[in-house]
Symmetry: C2
Subunit: 398 residues, 2 copies
């Protein structure tokens, strides 16, 4: 019998307690021991919860119970989540987390601390929600040098972009609908400005290339500047518009950035709609594999955190800490990265063909045109765009 | 230092030796110990191979070396592969395998034997080639009751179907091209008749629902009866044609079958072209996740087998044997499974609409029509088809 504790009783916390209870037998088999929920750390009373006899308000109760060997941190944010994670590790308990903000900013420190104290630190639920992603990346692809990771890492923005594409909605209307449905928060900044996707990109890059990137330093463009015309022209050009987190290995560091991309409809990522997420991984032996599924939500995220709980219990004698590399990795600007580009401009076809011989501009209902260039880096693109009345520029996934 | 041996020096065997040598450091980290290639069991001489000093022709050499703790069986087939796997386990060595035929037919027996002798038995490479699939299914989705598994599990047939769809080729021409490119064998029976996909379906069903299904009992239809007209009509109906292995949990057993399906173009599986594979898994907590990637090939398959080697070494004290359930699970006929159906018929639109009110037949270049019915089981479909000149019937993935 192994006792575990949950920190936080929000969406994921409730789901976690439920799924572990629901799949008692399978979880015990995976963990190699029966799991017992010891405590749930809360800030409020939940007198009607079936877990009410497990609720505690003081983390010290969990910290000082030597029988608790795994702590699932699903509080979110960096304040108490950070403090409790550290204290749990110092008390010899494994910590599992779905907290992308904490993992992206303090993951390496917590991982080192966990190694030092002989406990596991796992965070499968922090990227891609329920999609098995980090464990496959670190375990199943152990025989690969990871060269590139990119994907749709935020469900809220993918919902908005899907609505804009399918219903021709403006960004503001699609956002409002997403808020009504509970897919976007009242303050949607972290999602729509790409901050959430950026944190996940940092975690993926750290796991793939090392480097402990500072998410605040990763060039990040959200979806707020996209106009219905971009979705319309993208479709006419045979593409979907997706917000991608993108990280590429370089000899002396890595290129990492978050930005809207045009994705050719033949690419698997173009089929990922609504709140779904997907992540492609390119490895030296395997080539490219893609993982798709629900990137958020109570039970999907709980599914990922529960798997970490089972692994932490199973590996008590041989703790698991994914390799996040070392601090101070070099973050390289994406400007030098060559790719085809999508351009929206108010321009005659002749002017476009003059600047970009061979491209075929398409015209949308706004009278503006859209076209896709050959592969080139950003300075080359900007040079060629001089003199054109350019309204929008995004990379095309090649 | 841990010694491992490779049985077989064909496509996968060579790749395995190479990728483990190539990613020495990562593999050691994942395995928790440095790996040393001890032997490669061969039937021929390879005087020019960089691994020539490791080649042996007598399995007894490997069997009797107490330093070899993991054996990678990549011989294929059931004869010597089966015998050596058993002998290796009996000698206290973990066995990892990419051999779907052996795992589908004797997997449970070998798994039980491995448990008995305290060693690991892993076979990630047997389904989906390089795609991380079985480990995510058993480990990452531990908190889920798996309800359904389906996917494109054979690259050869997917290559042929893609060529038929994109180039309008006839089945025989597409097969010939696949053989020229090395994607299909001289005797393509196991691929094109669905036997290979059936073995993988059996493994997925066993891992998802238990039951130890006999692959020979799983209703299996290959792609040989598909005509260019089916591909043409499917496209007009907004679908791709894919050979799917499909297994669904039932209270008293499971439905498992292999057959061509029409897949709506909006579904992720419709974007999986050429030799790529993809598998969808529906779990009680996570919902649906999809894993895509190269389903065969030297380095992708070696990538999967190498991950098993690392895990077998890492878990020497706590062996890993995926749960394949118990023998004698009930295999339920798919006939009772309701789904929409695609029908190709030589019929006037009125006759079709008479039998299936509300459907919209489309007409192709052969003069035959294609249409998609409402969801119904097979007996109901056959009843409604009476009197129509039906040329082909396939399920539509709903």
């Amino acid at each position: 019998m192994t006792k575990y504790a949950i920190l936080g009783f929000g969406t994921v916390g409730v789901g976690l307690a439920e799924v572990i209870a629901d799949q008692k037998e399978k979880m015990s088999a995976a963990a190699g021991d029966e799991l017992e929920l010891g405590y749930i750390l809360v800030r409020h009373d939940y007198p009607d919860s079936p877990f009410r006899d497990k609720l505690v308000r003081d983390f010290a109760v969990i910290e000082s119970d030597p029988d608790v060997s795994v702590v699932a941190e699903v509080i979110g944010g960096v304040g108490p989540a950070y403090e409790y994670s550290k204290r749990a590790i110092l008390a010899g308990k494994s910590v599992v987390s779905s907290n992308k903000e904490l993992v992206a900013t303090h993951g390496l420190e917590l991982a080192e601390l966990a190694k030092e104290h002989g406990v596991s630190y796992l965070f499968e639920g922090s990227v891609g929600g329920g999609i098995p992603l980090l464990r496959p990346l670190s375990r199943c692809l152990a025989a690969n040098r990871i060269d590139e990771v990119y994907g749709i890492l935020n469900g809220t923005t993918n919902y908005i972009l899907t609505a804009m594409a399918e219903k021709g909605q403006a960004y503001g209307d699609a956002l409002k609908k997403a808020q009504e449905l509970g897919y976007a928060e009242a303050d949607p900044t972290a999602d729509v400005e790409g901050i959430d996707a950026c944190r996940k990109t940092a975690i993926l890059a750290d796991m793939s290339f090392g480097g402990n990137l500072d998410p605040a330093a990763i060039p990040t463009t959200g979806i707020t500047a996209l106009e219905p015309a971009d979705l319309e022209l993208a479709k006419a050009l045979g593409c979907a518009v997706k917000l991608l987190g993108h990280a590429i290995r370089r000899e002396d560091g890595c290129v990492a950035f978050v930005a809207p991309h045009l994705v050719p409809l033949s690419h698997t990522l173009a089929s990922i709609n609504g709140v779904m997420n997907a992540c492609a991984v390119r490895g030296s032996a395997v080539g490219e594999v893609v993982f798709c599924g629900p990137g958020a939500g109570r039970y999907p995220t709980a599914s990922a955190v529960a798997a970490d709980v089972a692994d932490a219990v199973r590996h008590r004698a041989d703790p698991m800490v994914p390799d996040l590399g070392r601090a101070n990795g070099k973050l390289i600007s994406p400007d030098g990265l060559a790719s085809p580009w999508y351009v929206r401009a108010a321009a005659e076809a002749d002017a476009v063909k003059n600047a970009f011989p061979g491209v075929k501009p398409v015209y949308g209902s706004t009278g503006e045109c859209g076209f896709i260039t050959e592969a080139m880096d950003k300075p080359a693109l900007l040079g060629k765009l001089e003199g054109l009345d350019v309204r929008a520029v995004y990379r095309v996934l090649a």
